[in-house]
Symmetry: C2
Subunit: 452 residues, 2 copies
């Protein structure tokens, strides 16, 4: 771990996070002294559902849908919206004009190749800024555009100078940055930084980067340029969220996202997943800036539009994200939700569920249900006895909450006249319960867990 | 970046990775000298679908299904299978016996609380080893089991000694390790290492850890114990795969996975996602040890059993994982798939698709389709002209591959008698195409992209 640094040497970054009251869940392994380059408490989001997302296999957004998505993202509070290049098609050009004219709080960007023709079209549409990109890896130079670094640098300077002269924000990004030559990369970023580019971008176009690589590259770049640093991560090997986090720790300022992560192949850093990660790191910053309760709406909007289901295991909004099952977990969750939850469901407009009709159930969770049902004369021994019965029945097939409730009511009623053993013998098979046993299904309604 | 280290001081780790021929996609940002503690080329998988996966909200596995899943995972070549505690229910006990008796290549483990009763039951079932767990964070000590560290350490030593005396492998893991006190953690791990535990485990039970934290903790632990180190990561904040990778880089030896990542809440490191990550890091090791073409089958088996759909954006097997859409990508992919693919689809029994019936399409992809259709007298100018027409039509609604083919055939037939402009005027609206335009759907069959 690094020794405390002299923060006065890095005036661009405040030391505020160290003085803020820490949430109790912050790990003892978090550095005691904040990394002076870290932007985990001051990052910005470039939301690219209307650009990267349009490259998703299923995506076809007409103008009305684009406007609806843009407004929904603006309501959440994302800092930028990135749109498909106006050079892609006539409608793409018109859509840039339409969305740039909506008067949203978010700045509107479009994403173009490093060509003067594309840059002129972009400026014509009235967007606030242009995200310019070109491939610099030997792969892309050989198999995509066939240009050398000198040509790329000259072209970049021409395009950036033009866009700036038109009073627009401009970002210059390489593509496939993690397979580009380090000296080539730093040279071109230094050159464009010198002529006043607003941001440079690093893109893991193929999804091959891992967090330590990202941290090293961004840290190195941070020492070379003065402008902002934007990062774009594909998720082919499962690191898109972690790479975004590592990039921010190393001094990146802007992260590209899309709703549900949609994009080329299996996509990029998902907006909801990034919210989950950053909430765990600095809840105050994330909740102060973004309206997290709207994430579910925009995910449903986009999922419907591109005709996919929200994944069962999606961050925050996946149907089981806040469902607790194992007995040992349920007990602790009922005592204090922070024990097994790093995300408070209510901060995202979601609810917590504790599932009890299965063989992993524990008597503390069953006791909690007894209390909810106000079966006041049931003792801890009663709860343990019924729990044992639930486990036996659920070994045969899972029980619905109605099944469990029925069992509890039968036990409670029988208790007035019988011993425990007699009661449990009476309740012999799941078929004798009032409601049929259910196979849990992928809707929370059918699953019927306990809402705490 | 660290200077090259003297490898002779770390005899347990070979320097083999440095001598292996590197794949061309290895980044220049990979350390030039291999980290002597890294196990990215020698890790083992503890597959926990039948334990952690059983804690997934929807999971109910009867004995036959458990056996089917166990055999499918064994066929892939996972090193261990972890099963639900025999103390959970009678059927859980019997299932341990059944699966331990199958004679699989994988070692069979069961996962128990740190109790002598549980340990005795586990040994009775005939499993090869016992994964013992107890919570050490102040949260769990207060709200879950209420035990102090001295009690935990004494209990751990008693349980481990017993399991070893029975000739079984034993792992001791803390729970919620990233919110436990560092000195407490290291003390207990050191104590159990001294009495010969086979593995110690670190668990990010709440999914709050990030890769740099993981790297630091594992690296520190690596310097304290001589035994193996197992890691278990929940995915609440999107780092479960990246954390597993960081742990292996820091010297962890075993990673816990489940199929599709199923587990408590939104689950843990998914088996398929870990394969994708490790393939990108050391393809030879992963392909030499695991049968990657079987991942799709086991995912379908588990998804059907727990009644969820495989997420549209799933690693490797998600339906769009190898679908390329943007014109600039398609061109490069057709020249050399490595340009935009870090994973070769054929290594996973999958296929690559290039989608062309949309407004982001490029003429190189269209030209490739012309060649596939053997429309031999079409020139590059013809391909560009038809591409422009596809973009115009697809601005109104997306086109199926049949629509595109129809357009190409019409253009080709008309070319014999007309100029380009006349031809394109004739093909005025999508309604005039032979097949109706389709809205892309979530099945590859309906999507009808080009298989390369």
């Amino acid at each position: 771990m690094s020794p405390p640094r002299d923060l006065s040497q890095t005036p661009a970054v405040t030391a505020a996070p160290a003085q803020r009251t820490r949430e109790p869940f912050v790990s003892p392994y978090m550095p005691k002294y904040p990394d002076p380059m870290s932007n985990i408490s001051s990052f910005k989001i470039i939301e690219s559902t209307l650009r990267e997302g349009e490259q998703f296999a299923n995506a076809f957004f007409d103008t009305a849908k684009k406007v609806e998505i843009a407004k929904a993202l603006d309501a959440i509070g994302v800092d930028y919206l990135e749109l498909t290049s106006p050079a892609a098609s006539e409608q793409s050009y018109n859509d840039c004009k339409t969305i740039a004219g909506l008067g949203l709080k978010a700045k509107i960007l479009t994403h173009t190749r490093c060509h003067m023709d594309d840059a002129r079209l972009a400026v014509e549409t009235g967007v606030d800024g242009v995200d310019v990109v070109i491939g610099t890896s030997s792969y892309l130079r050989e198999f995509s555009h066939g240009k050398d670094m000198e040509y790329i640098t000259d072209k970049a300077i021409e395009v950036i100078t033009y866009i700036k002269s038109q009073g627009r924000e401009v970002r210059f990004s390489t593509e496939d940055s993690f397979r580009s030559d380090l000296v080539d990369l730093l040279s071109i970023y230094k050159a464009v930084d010198k002529i006043g580019v607003n941001r440079v971008g690093i893109a893991d176009t193929v999804g091959c980067a891992n967090p330590r690589q990202v941290y090293e590259l961004v840290k190195t770049l941070r020492s070379v340029v003065n402008c902002d640093i934007e990062c774009h991560f594909h998720n082919d090997t499962g690191c898109a969220i972690a790479n975004a986090y590592a990039a921010l720790e190393a001094g990146a300022t802007h992260i590209d996202t899309s709703v549900l992560g949609i994009g080329e192949r299996n996509g990029i850093t998902p907006l909801g997943g990034l919210f989950a990660r950053m909430y765990a790191a600095d809840k105050d910053y994330v909740m102060g800036k973004y309206d997290l309760k709207l994430i579910r709406n925009v995910e449903n909007l986009v999922a419907d539009s591109v005709e996919v289901a929200v994944p069962f295991n999606n961050y925050i909004t996946g149907y089981c994200a806040f469902t607790h099952k194992a007995g040992i977990h349920a007990k602790a969750i009922l005592n204090n939700p922070s024990t097994y939850e790093i995300l408070k469901p209510e901060d995202f407009g979601m609810s917590r569920y504790v599932s009890i009709g299965h063989r992993l159930t524990g008597w503390n969770a069953v006791k909690n249900r007894i209390e909810q049902l106000r079966l006041t004369d049931m003792t801890d021994d009663d709860a343990k006895a019924v729990t044992q019965k639930i486990k036996e029945l659920a070994d045969i097939r899972p029980l619905s909450l109605d099944n469990v409730d029925s069992l509890l009511h039968q036990y409670h009623d029988a208790k007035k006249t019988s011993s425990h053993i007699t009661i449990l013998e009476k309740i012999a098979t799941p078929d004798q319960l009032a409601e049929p046993a259910v196979k849990a299904s992928t809707t929370q309604k059918q699953q019927q867990p306990i809402k705490k």
